[in-house]
């Protein structure tokens, strides 16, 4: 019974639609697991680290998904249209085959009835042929009506199924578009957040770097000033020491020369003084002593 249903065009169409729908749901589930690993569905979406790369990949993947979805939707539609045509053809063929079968069966039945009627009512003069022909026409018309009715029902059913498939596909398309819009929105949010984070990081980094550079400059300037002061002090001290040393050495040389001059003068003077000169110098010494009060103070005592 099930095998017969799947072999029928309608059963095949419905089964194919279900399989496609299941494939779509699996694809959707897998795509979410692929792009948001570790994220529960319905949980707030937080930009991951390295959001820019992920967003770019998500965008590419979303575009690819969109294209694949459109492609699959087009293929599904084409397949559905072909399937519909095939169903129509097979229905027509089945109906024609059934009409032939039924006609053959009715003809056989008619012949058998005719035989029965001929055998049973051979003796009557009723125009059975005309009656049978009439009944056959009526019966064939009824059959045709039934067949048309069945065909209409089948067409309605196929149309309903096709509409359902189209609606499903439309829903899938809308849902895919919503997913894409959601992705785009997420991308925008990510982008905005990333821009803010980037700006904040840049600002903080720049502020930190500027402050660090400023401190560094101040420290360098301070060290430069300290070193310059130290160098100046050392240079000044060294120059001072050199100057003092030079002055000291010059002073010592001058003093040495000076003392040599004095020594020579003394030697020369000492050897050239006559006894009279000595007497004069002694008297002069005594006179100078008296003039300076060297004796006077003691006399007062």
């Amino acid at each position: 019974m099930t095998f017969d249903f799947l072999n029928s065009p309608l059963g095949f169409f419905i089964a194919s639609s279900i399989v496609i729908f299941i494939l779509f749901l699996s694809f959707r589930f897998l795509s979410r697991r692929l792009f948001f690993p570790g994220q529960r569905i319905g949980a707030p979406e937080v930009p991951p680290a390295g959001g820019g790369e992920i967003i770019r990949k998500a965008e590419e993947e979303a575009l690819r998904i969109t294209e694949d979805s459109h492609k699959q939707a087009s293929e599904i539609l084409q397949h559905a249209t072909a399937l519909n045509d095939r169903v129509e053809k097979e229905l027509t063929h089945a109906l024609e085959e059934r009409i032939r079968t039924e006609t053959a069966r009715l003809s056989e039945l008619t012949q058998r009835l005719v035989g029965q009627f001929e055998s049973s009512f051979s003796e009557t003069k009723i125009d059975l042929a005309g009656e049978i022909q009439k009944m056959s026409s009526v019966y064939a018309g009824k059959v045709r009506e039934d067949v048309d009715k069945i065909l209409h029902e089948l067409e309605d059913e196929a149309k309903k199924n096709r509409d359902a498939v189209i609606r499903s596909l439309e829903e899938i398309r809308v849902e895919t578009q919503q997913e894409i819009a959601s992705y785009i929105e997420i991308r925008k949010n990510y982008s905005s957040e990333l821009q803010k984070m980037y700006a904040s990081i840049v600002q903080e980094s720049r502020g930190g770097i500027d402050g660090f550079l400023r401190k560094l400059d101040e420290e360098i300037q301070s060290r430069d000033k300290t070193l310059a002061d130290l160098f100046r002090e050392l240079t000044s001290a060294a120059e001072k020491e050199v100057a003092e040393y030079k002055a000291s050495r010059f002073q010592r040389v001058d003093d040495a020369i000076f003392r040599i001059v004095m020594f020579v003068s003394r030697e020369v003077l000492g050897k050239t003084l006559s006894p009279e000169d000595h007497q004069e110098l002694i008297i002069r010494a005594l006179e100078d002593a008296k003039r300076e009060g060297f004796f006077t103070v003691e006399n007062k005592k």
Partner: protein
């Protein structure tokens, strides 16, 4: 000539420390001789072997009269006063570059007796470093009036001039 005049006369001849010592020595000798040789008191004879001729002649000039030969009390007063006066003399130390000759001693002593006082005797010392002039020490005070000091003062006062001569521009 009374005792004071005689003492002044003797002190007048004391110019140096050596002469002062000789006078003191003479006083001692005469005192001792007087006690041991009572009755005969020949100053010239006593002093001739003990002190210099100059000192001996001074004492002979001053105390030649008989009263000092016979009257021991008078002579004791005289020697006592003389000794006291000699010991009271004040020294003036004079350091010279050369050994002073008689002329120098006489000239210096005359100047000191005249300009400073009669109770001063000279203590001559020799130091070649003074070159000339004298270093004086009197009543515990020192003063350099030597030629070396004057020369040094002169050079130090004109040090820059000397230096300019050493470093002619």
């Amino acid at each position: 000539m009374n005792v004071k005049e005689k003492i002044e006369l003797i002190l007048k001849h004391i110019r140096t420390a050596e002469e002062r010592e000789e006078v003191e020595g003479a006083i001692t000798v005469l005192r001792e001789s007087r006690y041991h040789e009572s009755g005969s008191f020949d100053i010239g004879e006593i002093l001739r072997e003990k002190v210099s001729r100059k000192i001996a002649s001074i004492f002979q000039e001053v105390i030649a009269s008989d009263e000092y030969r016979k009257d021991s009390a008078t002579s004791e007063i005289f020697f006592s006063e003389l000794e006291k006066s000699v010991r009271a003399m004040r020294p003036l130390s004079i350091t010279l570059a050369v050994e002073p000759d008689e002329k120098t001693i006489e000239r210096a002593s005359s100047w000191v007796t005249r300009e400073v006082g009669k109770d001063i005797y000279l203590v001559f010392k020799r130091d070649g470093r003074v070159l000339g002039g004298a270093e004086l020490v009197f009543a515990g005070r020192y003063r350099d009036f030597s030629l070396a000091w004057r020369l040094e003062t002169f050079f130090w006062a004109r040090k820059e001039d000397v230096r300019s001569m050493i470093h002619p521009s």
